[in-house]
Symmetry: C2
């Protein structure tokens, strides 16, 4: 009898302790590779297949960690690194070009258990900005480091530094030339010019949520413009009490409407569900303003939301029940 009570105690400790009240050994990872208005007919089948392969590879990397009982933080970092390394997406290698013909990378990461976060903005020689963002979170007392200072921090932390030419991609360079040709007198740009931001959110078997986002920003951006991706509360947010969010779209609006934090706030203060909270901002507020974008989110129960108000969003998820989903277009 006594040992029976002890077993119940152990079991209760297990579920209420490190492992969270709502986690029973299941996991979920959701990723995105940007939202945009893409004409289905303009995407050839082999190019589509290549996108699917990269999205699946990112899901594989994250899922392997979660399946082995690893942390959501490790999983989102691993998934985003795969997408940063692929020239198909506007993050890391293959980032869009600035007005001056360079690449300036932004990334952020957040741990929902500790409400800890790290971010870098405007780095030009760090192979995987998302991993430097994580080092800012773990090895500095700061949240956001920028430009040369962030690069110096990255070098001191021993991350892989590359020659800026590593980020070069002919398709993106042609995109810059095209954008510059079409640009208006002012030198500014079309909001869709940054399509391809990447991100991941995950719930691990211990009930912990994490979110990560990485981007090259907007084609032909100037004046060291920083968008929503490295801004905690705008492009990225995670809180074990609510959800984890990674966004993509016209960054300026995602900052002004604090999109990622807003979803968490609607859940905590209004009792909204994840789908409702995420949908109201993407299909409501932003759609009404004619602002394009989307996001991926997961809540502490493993529910998934992937709303977007464009024709397509590279997206997918993998779950402990074996379900795997990867799509580009709305259907």
């Amino acid at each position: 009898m006594k040992s029976g009570i002890f077993c119940v105690f152990l079991l209760v400790s297990f579920f209420l302790g490190d492992h969270g009240l709502f986690a029973q050994g299941h996991y979920t990872i959701v990723i995105h590779g940007g939202a945009g208005n893409v004409d289905r007919e303009r995407v050839p089948a082999d190019r589509e297949a290549e996108f699917f392969a990269r999205l699946n590879e990112a899901l594989d990397a994250g899922e392997a960690i979660l399946k082995a009982g690893g942390s959501s933080l490790d999983a989102v970092e691993a998934a985003v690194r795969i997408l940063e390394d692929s020239p198909k997406f506007n993050a890391g290698r293959g980032a869009v070009f600035t007005y001056g013909g360079g690449n300036e990378l932004d990334a952020s990461i957040m741990c929902g258990r500790e409400i800890a976060a790290g971010a870098v903005a405007g780095v030009t020689n760090v192979r995987n900005p998302i991993s430097t963002a994580r080092l800012v979170m773990e090895n500095s007392p700061h949240v956001l480091l920028t430009g040369r200072g962030a690069e110096q921090f990255a070098a001191e932390q021993g991350v892989e530094i590359v020659d800026p030419s590593y980020f070069f991609d002919q398709y993106r360079f042609d995109q810059l030339q095209e954008t510059l040709r079409r640009r208006q007198e002012s030198g500014y740009l079309h909001p869709d010019a940054g399509m391809g931001t990447v991100g991941a959110v995950a719930l691990d078997m211990h009930g912990n949520l994490a979110a990560a986002t990485s981007t090259g920003g907007m084609t032909a951006k100037r004046y060291n413009r920083v968008g929503d991706s490295p801004i905690i509360g705008a492009g990225t947010y995670a809180n074990n009490a609510s959800c984890a969010v990674s966004a993509t779209g016209h960054g300026e609006y995602f900052i002004k409407y604090a999109v990622a934090y807003d979803i968490s706030a609607r859940m905590l203060y209004k009792g909204a569900g994840l789908e409702e909270a995420a949908g109201s901002i993407i299909h409501g507020t932003l759609k009404d303003l004619n602002v394009s974008g989307g996001l991926v989110a997961v809540d502490r129960d493993g529910n998934v939301a992937m709303p977007f108000n464009t024709t397509g969003m590279f997206r997918g998820y993998a779950r402990s029940d074996g379900e795997r989903f990867v799509r580009i277009f709305a259907d």
Copy 2:
């Protein structure tokens, strides 16, 4: 009879139209010059008088605009410029020094009527960062510009560029030497080392809310660290539907808890009052984490909140009913 109905129509249009539902020609401006743990005995009377004079001067500048029917946006910019120009506060002239012995300035401004915002981070030669933040909002499609790019934008916009030595203040320089002497091996710093961020929020006679914040950040900051002041949703937020907020304190936590936006969210989603919403984060969430700071806020009815969890916060407000309040300590 007919003209009577017409008069009622005109009157209703006046109150519901440009002038907002809750604005009846009254205005409020609230300012701060930073929160911190200051020993009352250590502040000599003449130094205290100097602080009072500068706070009153900032209130005068903002109030003159509001009294003449001007916009809250003009009022908060004018008030913050006065505080930036005073070496007494950690913003503009008199900003704290970085680890490298320079000054890196951050500022942001937000218009609650249009949900428009602008910000600069890490500028070193712009006399009034708050005015450049406003130009980012009004003359660029962006929200946040950083470093050299932000300086180039400022120069192109024709704002006053100064030699970086303009920001030098002996007291702040001595503070850096003291901080460096006491710093730990890691080179990092005490969270209180940035006391003196300035900000203003206002409600104008047309029912429009605005917020502005400006800072030099933390003494001995490194790696181009950016705090909450230039981050919309963290250090600054304004929405005509809820409130305007300008914060001061340990910036990293104000980012992670999206403090300024959180107050607006609690009002919109929970129906919380301004005092309750502002108090829960400063005296609740942040106090529980041992994080020091404060904020000033005003809602669309002209209610004022000025919570801080330190021994003092330079603060004050002026209202259309003639009330004027300026204080440093808690009493």
